[in-house]
């Protein structure tokens, strides 16, 4: 009984602090952030089962249950995983780039960007597109993992303007 009541109080305090937090608006630049307040942030952690390559766990988080379709969410994470795998792919092209860079004493990267950087730009565009089409209309925003050191995919859930957090 005790742990349960403890958790209940924790939740009460959390939602209480969130309510009082609403009074101080965040000064952000995206329209949605200016109008809505952050209800919570959820994190998709890394999946290390294939080694040190950048992959994220395709696990549906309970906080997103009534916000977004499970298939859609898993599709987003799966696409991100594929893009990161493409960035880190070891093959003829990456070897060629590596050798060329070594021969030119890495000065070639003053002119052109690495394959990894090109794919990171692709990922940023994909996330932007997903946010615009799917997540922002549902009151959520995905933060590019590169801004979190490729540790997590951070999904910020915003409160509905009509009140009541998405729980």
């Amino acid at each position: 009984m005790r742990p349960r009541s403890g958790l209940l109080i924790q939740d009460t305090i959390q939602s209480g602090s969130r309510r009082t937090f609403n009074m101080a608006e965040t000064h952000s630049l995206q329209d949605m952030r200016q109008q809505a307040a952050i209800a919570s942030k959820v994190f998709v952690q890394r999946d290390y089962s294939t080694g040190t390559t950048c992959q994220f766990q395709i696990k549906f988080l309970p906080e997103l249950e009534n916000r977004i379709d499970k298939q859609q969410f898993e599709e987003t994470v799966r696409t991100l995983n594929n893009l990161y795998a493409e960035a880190e792919k070891i093959g003829g092209k990456s070897y060629l780039e590596g050798c060329l860079a070594c021969l030119t004493a890495y000065t070639i990267f003053l002119c052109m960007e690495t394959h990894y950087e090109k794919v990171l730009k692709k990922i940023a565009k994909y996330i932007q597109e997903q946010n615009d089409k799917i997540y922002a209309p549902r009151g959520m925003l995905i933060t590019d993992p590169i801004e979190r050191g490729l540790r997590v995919i951070e999904i910020t859930i915003y409160e509905d303007r009509n009140g009541g957090s998405g729980r």
Partner: protein, 496 residues
């Protein structure tokens, strides 16, 4: 994303609080100039050229390395090359020159680049991880010592333990390690090299390897041709004369130069060639120095033990290590600090925890609330008598933290300090009030032990603030029914 978001911030009641240990008054003035992320980097690194160059803090040995290489090579080019170019072949100084530039290039590249530093977790991430850890541990298992924070992961069939880093507040990825000298977690951490003045990790390992390989070629080259020079001369004039001779065009005694070059090269050859050989072995088996020293993948640990990261054959391992893709730096040192961006948790200074931005200071307070509540709940869960007096003192400051996000005006404490700093001051003290209590009980460490001394300085001045603060707070709490519920709940807990 505009870098200079200082304008609208001034209208708010919270002023921009710098994460550096400058006073809050100063930071309001700094608001106008957008600052780069390297300026507030929490690790122990030196940044040069406006963030383009990153090195460890102690760079003395690196300069020694530079001087040693430059002086030895310089002497070689000045004294031996003219003779050798004429009497043996002019290719000698050319090859020597190429080797020298390659060595210098790779050395500077190793020393100045980011080894693969992992940025520290933001406050939200850290709080989320803490929650997950507590859920998995179960709140009933809060004894004196919590179980060590590790996560088991199976990589290619091999079981690997991921450790939790208390400084960076993350679960370290496999093969990452925390460098105590630089105070950073580094990906694929090899070792911290004082000769190079930097950590050697994922991003600069290939440069380090090429540096020691080319340096071993250079030292062998210089050693060989100094000897060749002496021998060639001795054929003409006799051995001892060759050593003693001081041709007119050399400014000082030639013998010392020969001895100097020979001695340095002799010792360097053995140590550097040995090191190159060792790293060649590491690359071919895809291990790090760290793993090799600990014997992580050695068969002595068990017959089933094997390296899950190895690609199977030597050629692939070498190609991947030397020619594989280089990931970009994760720390973005030259980026501008966004006004609404969350700052990472910096445990070294108690004051810095309270965020650089107004929104984040709210987030931080919210998380402090959650964590401090957790401490109370855990304390309540342990059936020991000694927790009760702690709890009695603990639960009082807590409600004070909840309405902090409310306007500061009602919380004036008659102190001649700016309103924005006051709640932080009392927050600081309330947290540090609880820290000694938590440490005695051996509860989960929210902050590393190093932080405990720093808030204590504030403790004595702030303790009186805390108590008067809570009186005000109780008045506020009664106005808000939600807060009243939480306060009631806490009181109930403590009485159990």
């Amino acid at each position: 994303m505009l870098p200079g978001g200082g304008g609208p911030m001034k209208d708010c009641q919270y002023s921009h609080i710098s994460t550096r240990s400058s006073s809050p008054m100063e930071s309001a003035h700094k608001n106008n100039a957008p600052r780069r992320k390297w300026e507030v980097f929490p690790g122990r690194n030196t940044f040069l050229c406006n963030g383009r160059i990153i090195m460890a803090r102690q760079t003395g040995v690196f300069y020694f390395t530079l001087v040693l290489i430059v002086v030895t090579s310089g002497l070689f080019f000045a004294f031996d090359c003219p003779y050798l170019a004429v009497h043996i072949t002019p290719a000698v100084p050319v090859i020597g020159g190429i080797l020298f530039f390659f060595v210098m290039g790779t050395l500077l590249r190793t020393s100045f680049s980011d080894p693969g530093v992992l940025p520290r977790a933001t406050a939200h991430e850290a709080a989320d991880l803490e929650r997950q850890i507590d859920v998995s541990n179960g709140s009933s298992s809060g004894g004196y010592r919590p179980p060590p924070r590790t996560k088991e992961v199976t990589i290619n069939g091999q079981s690997v333990k991921l450790k939790y880093c208390f400084t960076c507040k993350i679960f370290r990825p496999p093969r990452a390690s925390h460098c105590s000298l630089c105070d950073n977690c580094v990906e694929r951490f090899d070792h911290h090299c004082p000769w190079v003045g930097n950590c050697v990790g994922k991003r600069n390992y290939r440069f380090f390897y090429m540096f020691i390989l080319s340096l071993s070629f250079l030292t062998i080259f210089i050693f060989a041709f100094v000897i060749a020079h002496v021998i060639h001369r001795s054929h003409q004039t006799g051995f001892l004369n060759a050593l003693k001779d001081s041709p007119a065009r050399y400014p000082f005694h030639w013998t010392w130069h020969n001895i100097h070059c020979s001695v340095i090269c002799f010792f360097s050859v053995w140590s550097i060639v040995g090191l190159s050989g060792f790293h060649t072995y590491l690359i071919s088996s895809n291990q790090t120095t760290n793993e090799d020293i600990k014997g992580a993948w050695s068969t002595k640990r068990g017959k089933e033990n094997y390296n899950p990261y190895s690609h199977g054959n030597i050629v692939t391992n070498c190609c991947v290590a030397l020619c594989g893709p280089v990931p970009p730096s994760l720390i973005d040192r030259r980026g501008f600090i966004q006004p609404d961006a969350p700052q990472s948790v910096a445990p070294s200074n108690g004051i810095t925890m309270y965020g650089a931005t107004q929104s984040h200071s709210n987030m931080c307070d919210q998380d402090q609330c959650i964590q401090s509540t957790k401490f109370v709940l855990q304390a309540a869960a342990t059936p020991l008598l000694q927790t009760e007096p702690h709890l009695a003192s603990n639960e009082l400051p807590l409600p004070g933290k909840i309405p902090l996000s409310a306007p500061c005006a009602p919380l004036t404490l008659g102190q001649p300090t700016p309103p924005s700093s006051t709640p932080n001051l009392s927050c600081d003290t309330t947290l540090s009030d609880m820290l000694p209590a938590r440490e005695e009980q051996g509860g989960p460490h929210f902050l590393t032990p190093e932080e405990v001394p720093s808030p204590r300085g504030v403790l004595s001045s702030g303790s009186s603030l805390t108590h008067s603060h809570t009186m005000h707070v109780f008045n506020l709490a009664s106005q808000d029914s939600l807060h009243e519920d939480s306060v009631r709940g806490l009181v109930k807990l403590s009485s159990v």
